[in-house]
């Protein structure tokens, strides 16, 4: 067995060089709330741990450019949740980030880690998906930007190359009126992974986007462009039919957290709730600005 190496690079170039040197044997250490659990249970046995918290040219800031926002890879959930402008603009993301673990966890856990860990149940991923977020990656062959939708390949697996670092996440501007909401189902309140989770966004053109987590190998994004779901003028029967058409694209399984049948039934129940809240937030959007 080769000895474990701990590296704390101070530049992106150095970090990437170490990732390249160790290949798949290297693990990026951000807040560590996923990695450290798996490391201590020996579910991962890395040759090198690359701690990115001192990388100077990797931002730990929340930067606005007009109405678009870029969140650095080292921003922790607590920072995100406390940010007034984020709270006003992205309540669905704040609601999702607020459910992650406990206060102690949120003081360390990052959005980037939640994404790169690629759990099908990651809570901040559905809101980021419905917001149309992109991620910026830097590796030995340069930097690239890619939509979050399509980034997840399988449980625990993303399109990130072993020598790439996720450096930031960008949410594009949205034309008003716009509203979004987040919902999840857990077995108990606090410190529990979601049995299902979802986010819904309704844009200015009345298109409704849902992203569902924990009901397939990766989170999935589905869209209804009929306009029927954009406000509560639609009848309950029509709304449920439209929701069911979206839910039909999921593939829930049975596991320790819930059976497939229960998950399917709850997708509709929580789907209604999340839709109603997104409609309400969209109606309030102009007032809030």
């Amino acid at each position: 067995m080769s000895a474990l190496h701990y590296a704390r690079p101070e530049s992106l170039a150095d970090a990437i060089a170490i990732l390249e040197q160790y290949g798949p044997g290297a693990r990026v250490l951000n807040g560590g709330t996923d990695l450290m659990v798996r490391f201590q249970k020996m579910q991962v046995t890395p040759e090198a741990i690359v701690d990115i918290k001192r990388v100077r040219d990797m931002s730990d800031a929340i930067v606005w450019d007009g109405d678009s926002v870029t969140i650095g890879a080292r921003v922790v959930m607590t920072r995100l949740i406390r940010d007034e402008r984020i709270r006003r603009r992205y309540p669905a993301l704040v609601d999702a980030a607020s459910t992650v673990g406990s206060i102690q966890i949120r003081n360390r856990a990052t959005l980037a880690g939640n994404i790169c860990n690629a759990s099908p149940a990651a809570d901040t991923v559905p809101p980021l998906l419905v917001h149309g977020a992109t991620v910026q990656l830097v590796g030995s062959s340069g930097s690239r930007e890619t939509p979050l939708d399509g980034f997840f390949l399988a449980p625990g697996k993303t399109a990130r190359a072993p020598d790439e670092l996720l450096v930031s996440i960008t949410i594009p501007p949205h034309r008003s009126p716009y509203g979004a909401a987040f919902g999840r189902l857990t077995r108990r309140h606090g410190v529990d992974l979601a049995s299902i989770n979802m986010a819904c966004a309704i844009d200015a053109e009345r298109a409704v986007t849902f992203a569902f987590g924990a009901v397939g190998p990766t989170p999935i994004t589905v869209k209804d462009t009929s306009g029927a779901l954009a406000d509560h003028t639609v009848s309950d029967a029509q709304r449920d039919a439209a929701l069911q058409a979206l839910i039909a694209r999921t593939s829930p399984i049975s596991d320790v957290r819930a059976s497939a049948a229960y998950r399917s039934a709850m997708l509709l129940v929580i789907g209604r709730r999340v839709l109603a809240q997104a409609q309400q937030r969209r109606a309030d959007f102009d007032a809030r600005e």
Partner: protein, 157 residues
Amino acid sequence: MAGQLIPITLTVNGTTCRSEVPPHLTLLEFLRDTLNLTGSKRCCGEGECGACTAIMNGEAVNTCLILAAEADGSDLITVEGLSAMPYGARLQQTFLDQGAVQCGFCTPGMVVAAQYLLMNNPDPTPDEIREGLSGNLCRCTGYARIVEAVMGAAGDE
């Protein structure tokens, strides 16, 4: 091949500590086994229970999920340093007065989490206390007395 040793310098309860740590050592193990500060407990070892809670650079964290090497340069308050903190001594007394301690295994993490809560919200409601302590599990008390103890310690110093 000799294992890697990482030099670290950190402040623990106001005292500067220098050491050399192997890469896999957790901050909790370092506190307990190297510094002999055994107040922080190892219970779940996976971030679920909060028995290992300390305040690192002003934020409550689970020390079982942090490497000792990562703590280099940080300012750490453990339960042993609590009485020097605002609310610390008061919390210790109200936990005793309310009988909020049974087996006591959760207590160090619980009072550190309560200290962190009161630092950020000096006058919490019972619901805010329950939320603030939701990362700390207690299998004995049923939490009611813990919430009362924190209520008792709240308010301006």
